[in-house]
Assembly symmetry: C2
Homo-oligomer: 192 residues x 2
DNA sequence: AAATAGACTTAAACTAGTTTAAGAAAGGGG
DNA sequence: CCCCTTTCTTAAACTAGTTTAAGTCTATTT
């Protein structure tokens, strides 16, 4: 199992002792995903806190008209989950799907709680992870409210340049909240 | 000092022992705010995690054209802060201001860290608080991407009915990402 | 090499939401 | 009680972004 990236990631918040990484190893499951493979479907509870080792996943909803809307992407060293459903056990409104062939590490609710019980270091780390996610989401809300589609696209290019060359156009447009057609227009204007 | 609402709030996550509430009391400062009084201004570091006892605050940015955009509101028993600036000490991009005369309880970074050191219960509680904030923000992103202005307004009415009657129209419009004029139009159509 | 399908672009007609401007209502302070 | 400021509404002209529909460009399968 390729656990090292996760150990490095968590250790970057607070270094882990060997007993802690050992305990972690017991609780984590590796999973290899094909392109377009789902790890969460609407109507089902979200049973995993998922860490991306390699590849890229997206979280999206399908609205009443059947249109997909990408909420967020998670690439290397990022987390993806429906926290609400994960903790409550209630059916999720979201889908999570691999955009590229990906390798992920997953933790189930009771295993995560066991980690929390084993060492409060994990509480501290996941507190900071949640806070960082808040900051990212807050910025996103800010951009959605205050920027035009073109400005949002340019901000996306700067912030997620590595992703912008890996993701199909449709997914970027959906993330920006515009149509692929309009994204095309913007690209032509900005000449990129 | 009116500490009880905060004790109740934190205790609803994990009940606090008397030593913990005592420790909390030492670290928390009460502050009474007039309408339109700022507790955070752009360019200054955010020095407080702020808990709202009564009244209502808003967090907003002013964009390049000088237009205000409300990111979020916090009323009774809610938290408001620029987490990023709070932890990093860097200048914030946000303003936080009282919309109504308000009473708040504030904690400064080192006092919060002292709480974390005193009892890891506080880590656990603030982890959940951050996670809940993530859920709320994620829903907001979802609404901004997938709903029309009218649908967003109706969703806002349902979710924040208590606030919708307390907040001036301008602030609601800014929160929804539309002009007050257009909000007026929507209101006329929905006959509410 | 042809066939099929997925990803991206173009353009014209359209619509949701903005802008500008003006007037009506509604506080709140002296 | 009236003035003054702030809040809300209406309407017309405008623009950013959508819709629809067709066409190009790859890549993959046969």
């Amino acid at each position: 199992m390729t656990l090292q990236p996760l150990i490095d990631h968590l250790g970057s918040y607070i270094p882990l002792k060997q007993t802690e990484t050992q305990f972690l190893e017991e609780k984590v499951t590796e999973r290899r995903l094909k392109r377009k493979q789902h790890i969460l479907q609407e109507g089902f509870p979200c049973r995993h806190y998922t860490f991306v080792v390699s590849g890229c996943l997206r979280m999206f909803v399908i609205d009443v008209q059947g249109i997909e809307h990408n909420i967020l992407f998670a690439a290397e060293n990022d987390w993806i989950t429906d926290i609400s459903s994960f903790h409550s056990g209630k059916p999720s409104r979201f889908f999570i799907e691999a955009v590229e062939p990906s390798v992920v590490l997953q933790i189930e609710p009771y295993d995560l709680y066991a980690l929390y019980t084993h060492s409060y270091k994990f509480d501290k780390i996941f507190k900071v992870i949640a806070e960082n996610k808040c900051v990212a989401l807050q910025n996103r809300v800010l951009q959605m409210i205050s920027l035009t589609a073109k400005e949002r696209y340019l901000a996306f290019l700067e912030e997620y340049h590595h992703l912008s060359v890996r993701l199909p156009n449709v997914h970027i447009a959906s993330y920006l909240g515009i149509t692929p057609e309009f994204l095309s227009k913007i690209r032509k204007e900005t000449a990129y």
